[in-house]
Symmetry: C2
Subunit: 265 residues, 2 copies
Amino acid sequence: MQKKRGKRIGFVPTMGALHEGHLSLIRLAKKHSDFVIVSIFVNPTQFGPKEDFKKYPRNLKKDAALCQTAGADLIFSPSPEEIYPKGFSTYVNVENLTQGLCGASRPGHFRGVATVVSKLFNIVQPDAAIFGQKDAQQLAVIRQMTKDLDQPVKIIGAPIVREGDGLAMSSRNAYLTQEERKQAVALNRTLLKAKQMAKSGQLKADSVKRELIRLLKHDAPLGKIDYVEIVDNATLRPVKVIQKNTLLALGVKFPSARLIDNIVV
Amino acid sequence: MQKKRGKRIGFVPTMGALHEGHLSLIRLAKKHSDFVIVSIFVNPTQFGPKEDFKKYPRNLKKDAALCQTAGADLIFSPSPEEIYPKGFSTYVNVENLTQGLCGASRPGHFRGVATVVSKLFNIVQPDAAIFGQKDAQQLAVIRQMTKDLDQPVKIIGAPIVREGDGLAMSSRNAYLTQEERKQAVALNRTLLKAKQMAKSGQLKADSVKRELIRLLKHDAPLGKIDYVEIVDNATLRPVKVIQKNTLLALGVKFPSARLIDNIVV
């Protein structure tokens, strides 16, 4: 309806449990559009059978209030049955991009993400959609999908929002124990050191990766390294030499939560 | 542009080599819309490596003239590189519906169909799209995909158009030898007999299927039966008892061409 009135629709798809990172997306959407729609949907198809779909935090009332303060005009909060009715059987798959990084330890995750985002784009019909750079692989997958399927939506990446000590904001940070929370700072700190290495001329991906792993093991002993990758930011293919638009990305499994972080050089 | 002017867009996706069947789709689109777009694109991703992608008949000039006589307002005829640029890697998969019937002997075929139709829908932005009932499985797949992905397009099925002797029109009929062409009539004749059987009370799918196979083998000895299936017209799941909306579908491989036909009881 708003679209028919000639307004530009900005769209921020979320799983709720909103934090300052999400709110920054809504504010950015506001700059790129006249009417901002936020979806809140904990999408079952992007969770693995052993992942935290059931315990994922849900608080629609609080989320709705936060959306409003950030300037959202409409919240779309469908039920799982509305999005996946009986007999549902169509999936969107972005091949290649989804094999490595998070995709390796979360098979089917990006199939779920691409499918639900396709659906949401068709329902909401946005002119622009905002995704956080924190899920760098997700952003790359959505960019590729939108381009490949000719979806008429402009994809805008938004910078990572961090806590005071540098930890990337995430709804899953709430799962962390006090000790894990302290060690979790290592993700960002390690990435910053790697960026520093690259800036001071150490451009061999292998060496930087080794150092990243060493630092992570030392500073976050409670965490199990899921991946440390140095890849091209668009294709997500590993690079040998760090250059412009190289993405340093890592995933670490703490006993209470799996965290990810990244930095683009 | 036409859409913005408030016109309803009707869409007929084709692979060209147009015949009277296609023209009937264009005429039907005309009834459901104000502006009819026909796409002509021989879609590489829906052909198997040993199939007839290269030799598939192409005659854009003749097709364009036929489109015009049937009342099309615009022809969209992209190149393979426009539709599948370097790095393309997103595919739409309708699971379940694509395992049986044609899908069994053409793995990947419906993945290619669903992907290109999704793209064309996003490019053309039609209000309604017309597909022939001849490709009954394709029609079911597109209906399911459109519903599952919330694509804002009304899918309209159009009746099969046949030659004087009952052979379903197909661009691939041109491949047939004289002898194969004679025997090809058996597909429709056999389906009509099966429908007659059902009407006269023989509703057991097994018995009807056996009789279909016997008749086909007898009347089309040059053809190798690819499949004979009796299924629900929407879910494509095999039924035991023929009832309303049961689809009788068959595929026969002649040495020069693979033909399909079907009838809904």
